[in-house]
């Protein structure tokens, strides 16, 4: 699971009509991200899942998920992402997709491709799945499988991407770009054309969860990024409107203004974690706030009344320099998780902002990435695995 999916969604929203002026009532959670399980057969060092994964025994049941979908849809949610971990590990995925599709959701499967088969792709189609997104770690087996921490991952992904297109789905390919694979951008673009992807996200890792731990090994240099962007632009020019649509996402560490995180806290996105915690952003669990659980409260109570969902809405909570800043409507002061991780205070201005008194921390991180001082840590998976017998899941810590 990579974090940028949800962070990017807002950019894809377009309007043919002017938005009504905002009223005091809260709009619906348009996007629901259902993290079905944190279990995953891969060990990506950029994974944005929490480094403490919790207990698979506490995962929501089929019925509990269906109820969440029904309640969210009633409020006006329209996009639903099935994510994780690896959502294919849930045997009831087809049942969940079918229920969601019948409710009128646009259903997105966000998968590593491991565990997919032609038969399952067909079954999901019958259930009503609208779109499949497959993540790749690199453009060839060597790079891909070294990053994913599993042999034959590349070949499996390649075959499944072919089958997804052959079975008529729209397909997004997602490449998390880091120091480890940034030199492969040209090969990645060629591979995407060969696989007939519709959209391709070349998204530099964002630094949450495991990615934060491994930041020094992931964060590319400014020069590498400039060169990559140039290559992507050059490729786009040659495409003449044909082939995949490439989306290049640079890391905010090299910006002077933060991203408008989650399109504004509690305005658009709702994440439900495997155990039923409801979050305004999928890394928010790290914050010193108590978040509600869908087992105890309805989605509408959570969205409209819960303290934590209201906490960073609007601008009353903002300290200076954000409070007096004329750009606060644009970026809402940036990412609360990033502020918390880097400064220890979740209210502070996102250090990415050049107006932040903590901006030097970003400069230090860039500097530190030129010379990593500790070894990379691969994501740890559950030792006792509920969903399968895959022996690679028993690896607890692999240093490379």
């Amino acid at each position: 699971m990579t974090i940028k999916q949800t962070k990017k969604l807002a950019n894809k929203q377009e309007n043919t009509q002017k938005e009504a002026t905002p009223t005091t009532t809260v709009g619906p959670p348009l996007w629901l991200l259902a993290e079905l399980t944190y279990d995953c057969p891969l060990h990506c060092p950029y994974c944005s899942n929490p480094t403490e994964l919790g207990d698979t025994e506490k995962e929501l049941t089929t019925q509990e998920w269906c109820q969440v979908f029904t309640q969210a849809r009633e409020m006006g949610a329209v996009q639903l992402g099935f994510s994780g971990g690896e959502p294919l590990l849930r045997k009831d995925l087809e049942v969940l997709v079918k229920h969601a599709r019948e409710l009128g959701f646009y259903t997105n499967l966000i998968t590593s491709g491991i565990g997919l088969t032609e038969k399952r792709i067909a079954k999901l189609k019958v259930a009503g799945l609208d779109h499949i997104q497959i993540s790749f770690q690199g453009a060839d087996p060597e790079v891909n499988d070294a990053i994913a921490g599993r042999g034959n991952a590349y070949q499996q992904k390649f075959n499944m991407a072919k089958s997804v297109k052959a079975q008529g789905y729209p397909m997004v390919l997602n490449f998390v770009i880091s120091k480890q694979n940034i030199a492969q951008i040209p090969e990645i673009m060629r591979l995407s054309c060969e696989l007939e992807a519709d959209y391709v996200e070349l998204a530099t890792a964002q630094y949450y969860g495991w990615a934060y731990t491994n930041r020094d090994h992931l964060l590319p240099s400014k020069e590498q990024l400039v060169e990559s962007e140039r290559l992507v632009n050059e490729f786009r020019d040659q495409q003449q409107g044909k082939g995949p649509h490439f989306i290049f996402v640079t890391p905010d560490y090299f910006e002077t203004r933060p991203k408008a995180c989650m399109n504004g806290w509690g305005t658009t996105f709702l994440t439900v974690t495997p155990d039923g915690s409801a979050l305004p952003c999928h890394s928010a669990k790290m914050l010193p706030l108590t978040f509600p659980n869908v087992k105890d409260k309805s989605v509408s109570d959570i969205w409209q009344q819960d303290f934590s969902f209201d906490y960073f809405r609007g601008d009353d909570w903002m300290p200076q320099p954000c409070k007096g800043c004329d750009e606060k409507e644009k970026d809402f002061g940036g990412c609360r998780c990033q502020a918390y991780m880097m400064t220890g205070d979740m209210h502070k201005t996102d250090p990415v902002c050049s107006k932040s008194e903590d901006h030097h921390l970003i400069q230090q991180a860039i500097e530190s990435a030129t010379n990593p001082s500790k070894a990379i840590e691969k994501r740890i998976n559950h030792t006792a695995n509920k969903h399968g017998k895959d022996s690679s899941l028993n690896i607890t810590r692999v240093k490379v």
């Binding site: 969604l9 894809k12 996007w31 006006g76 519709d198 959209y199």
Partner: protein, 91 residues
């Protein structure tokens, strides 16, 4: 360029749907949504890969007789929608 005999069809990547909460038609696609204004929604509803631009215009003209000549609006929207790849342009 589109002509009166152009037969637009919806790109399979998109799904057209009425959204009660938005009070408008929307186009849904991987992880995204486009909200359509009233006239765009009326036009999109008629696009089925069989009707020509002229037939679409006539249907709307009959539905909204007070609307004056709609052909420019229809042509303009369909042209934009083809540019945005929401629609295919099958002659």
């Amino acid at each position: 360029m589109i002509t009166s005999t152009t037969t637009p069809s919806l790109n399979a990547m998109f799904r057209l749907q009425w959204e009660k909460a938005q009070n408008c038609f929307v186009l849904l696609f991987p992880e995204g949504m486009v909200k359509l204004n009233g006239s765009a929604g009326e036009i999109m509803q008629l696009i089925d890969g069989e009707k020509t631009v002229q037939q679409i215009t006539e249907t709307l003209q009959n539905k909204f007789p007070e609307g004056g000549d709609l052909s420019n609006d229809v042509n303009e929207f369909i042209t934009t929608a083809i540019e945005k790849k929401w629609l295919y342009n099958d002659h």
